[in-house]
Symmetry: C3
Subunit: 288 residues, 3 copies
């Protein structure tokens, strides 16, 4: 017995909510296979069937877990259809879930690039195909000996992903669980676009305080004379925190992205913005 | 020291929600008595005072936990009245909670039968009395030496059930906690009724996606030519998953029961059905 | 290796909700520093930015945890402003959070007294200054070597409080984390006031069942002939439980405080009461 061995750490993310027994069933299955697993909930309040929400939560959280953590992620509107269950192994930790774009933010973090040219009519959140980065590997989870004996058509979280998670926590290697796959589905967002004195991005997520999180990362030290524009609203300067100012504020949020907040209220309601709404940062303000 | 001993596993189910400290107080009490207990939440978002909801969540979840798990279940509108605190011991695991019907689904799973003839005017969810099955045992938890020193009238979860749970996790035997009891309260649902070419059941639960879960279990392989009728809506055939079709779908859900879903929407709203609404399956469709 | 050492127990309280990755990030950071920590959620559904709610949840829950538990509490509308991060050490356990009144109930429990005369125009929930009681100690958490390498302006839960919590769980002493501080912020509530045959208090919290929790503690055995008055509603006598009566009930709640409930409904809606609403108990009822 090696007492230095830490608990294999397992996180769970889903849109199952906590009003039914769905999450508990997954927990029971994992602990039935690996009783020593340390189970940590990331979130089960992902908005129902909102793959982009799950992808964002996961992509902004996994950094804070120790390497070798295994993340179980089940937001899976296509359960029972032909989308694959997959395992994504990165230099930091591993991710187990459906191939439906749920790992978009993780793949982006590791520098994944598109596998094929974008369709001309591509829209935000459309499915596109992205290469698994060189530093990572992905596997199709098709070895049914690591699944539940009976697999339902509607709850692969319990019948496929949780058993696989338990076996991974027990030390089964990724290679034993299925064959490699070179590219994965990704949800489309345009890259931020720099123009003369401006950079244009978009809202990629709205948190429960109504803060608008963009895909713009401003270089430190931040020029406080910049202007931010969204849906016809103009914000002058970058605030240090949610209380330094009135009305709409631009701020570098805890995820590192430019956020638009509203002092003691919801920026989402004050701007009418939603995921995909354009956000423009001007470094050379006409007012300045 | 025996390193092979697994943590005693304890699950918690309640309608306390997570906005107050009620659940935390129970966790603290259990860990104060048995610091090694592994605590797993089943749900604290049971609809307030909805015993049938708790019974369903518990009855469809306990299978997935290892035998010897002890389930603490407190949805207890009658707290402080003369309903008993009880312990139900089954061949698989143990259940600790008020005698108010919260173990109905578990008792049904073990083949419990009614202790007395049904009243002529019995209605769905009425209290009836059911025998503890031969393979199980039940005990009244009346030994106050295993309770908190002071017992409130309004929070037996913290003052009776959690301390008892801690002592059970520490290895105290069921017999030490109180005397046996031969029958328990059960919430009434009619058994599914078979007629010529038809079977009639009812909705027993509605999940957070608005799916209607019935008490009908169809034999595999399922004849896909069946018709399902609910509140005047007719569904032809059984779908494999939530995305194979449009509008109302009939599907074998993850609990094994026939479910009625609506593609990307709430079947509960489209049908106006509630718990108790009749559902008829016709094997000999007049269209077929 | 000392096998008798229990897990260092850590509780978490916040208003982050579970729909984002905020709580998970804190959990990951704590476990990254102290992999053996036992993490217990008190609540992450504290009403957003409601310091009084957090203070109440914490103050009515900490008793049930074993001494040496460390409570991480982050409801922090002033994050990034000059409010201090602090550690409050009591004879029972320790509390780690912002100096914004979040420890008001804990300080009251230990007999804290005001540091200065009340302003004439003080209102309920205003900030006042209270001495750290003699049996306790408080420290400003200003040693950045125990923080994250990079500290955001908007998420000190992850970047300051969680790392400090991890180091405390690892055995770092309070004195190493920063200098002592003699007084802390407290949210103002008037003390209950006794007059001839009456005592007047107020509502200090409303729970999710709509029960009104007051700051009145009645001496046992309670004279059941008392009258309770709130917002023009009069309640005769004290009930033993939530089901013994109809309409408005007065009851000694599980926190030990006088509560006003409504049988099978919300007292908050029936009375229109809110935090601060006066409640008068008359021991010499004019009806009696």
């Amino acid at each position: 017995v090696n007492f230095a061995l830490p608990l294999p750490l397992v996180t769970l993310t889903s849109d199952f909510g906590m009003s039914g027994g769905y999450v508990a069933a997954m927990r029971g299955v994992i602990l039935g296979i690996c009783p020593d697993a340390g189970l940590i909930d990331v979130s089960h309040d992902v908005r129902p069937q909102d793959i982009n929400h799950a992808s964002f939560v996961l992509g902004t959280t996994f950094w804070y877990f120790s390497a070798s953590t295994i993340h179980l992620t089940v937001v899976d509107p296509g359960v029972g259809t032909d989308r694959y269950p997959i395992l994504l192994v990165t230099p930091h930790d591993s991710f187990n879930g459906p191939n439906n774009g749920i790992f978009s933010h993780v793949l982006t973090a590791y520098g994944s690039t598109l596998s094929e040219p974008l369709p001309a009519d591509v829209r935000i959140l459309d499915d596109v195909q992205a290469d698994v980065p060189d530093t990572c590997q992905a596997f199709i989870l098709d070895r049914s000996e690591y699944w539940a004996e009976t697999v339902s058509n509607t709850f692969h979280g319990r019948d496929i992903f949780a058993p696989v998670e338990g076996h991974l926590a027990n030390g089964v290697s990724a290679e034993e669980l299925g064959p490699p796959i070179p590219s994965l589905k990704m949800l489309y967002f345009p890259y931020p676009e720099a123009r003369s004195g401006q950079i244009e991005g978009c809202v990629i997520q709205i948190d429960r305080f109504g803060n608008l999180i963009t895909n713009l990362v401003l270089e430190e030290p931040i020029d406080v004379d910049i202007d931010v524009e969204i849906n016809g609203h103009r914000i002058s300067g970058i605030s240090r925190n949610y209380q330094s100012g009135e009305g709409l504020l631009a701020i570098t949020g805890s995820h590192g992205f430019l956020e638009i907040a509203y002092a003691n209220d919801k920026a989402s309601e004050h701007t009418g913005a939603s995921v995909g709404t354009k956000v423009t940062v001007s470094f050379d303000s006409s007012d300045g």
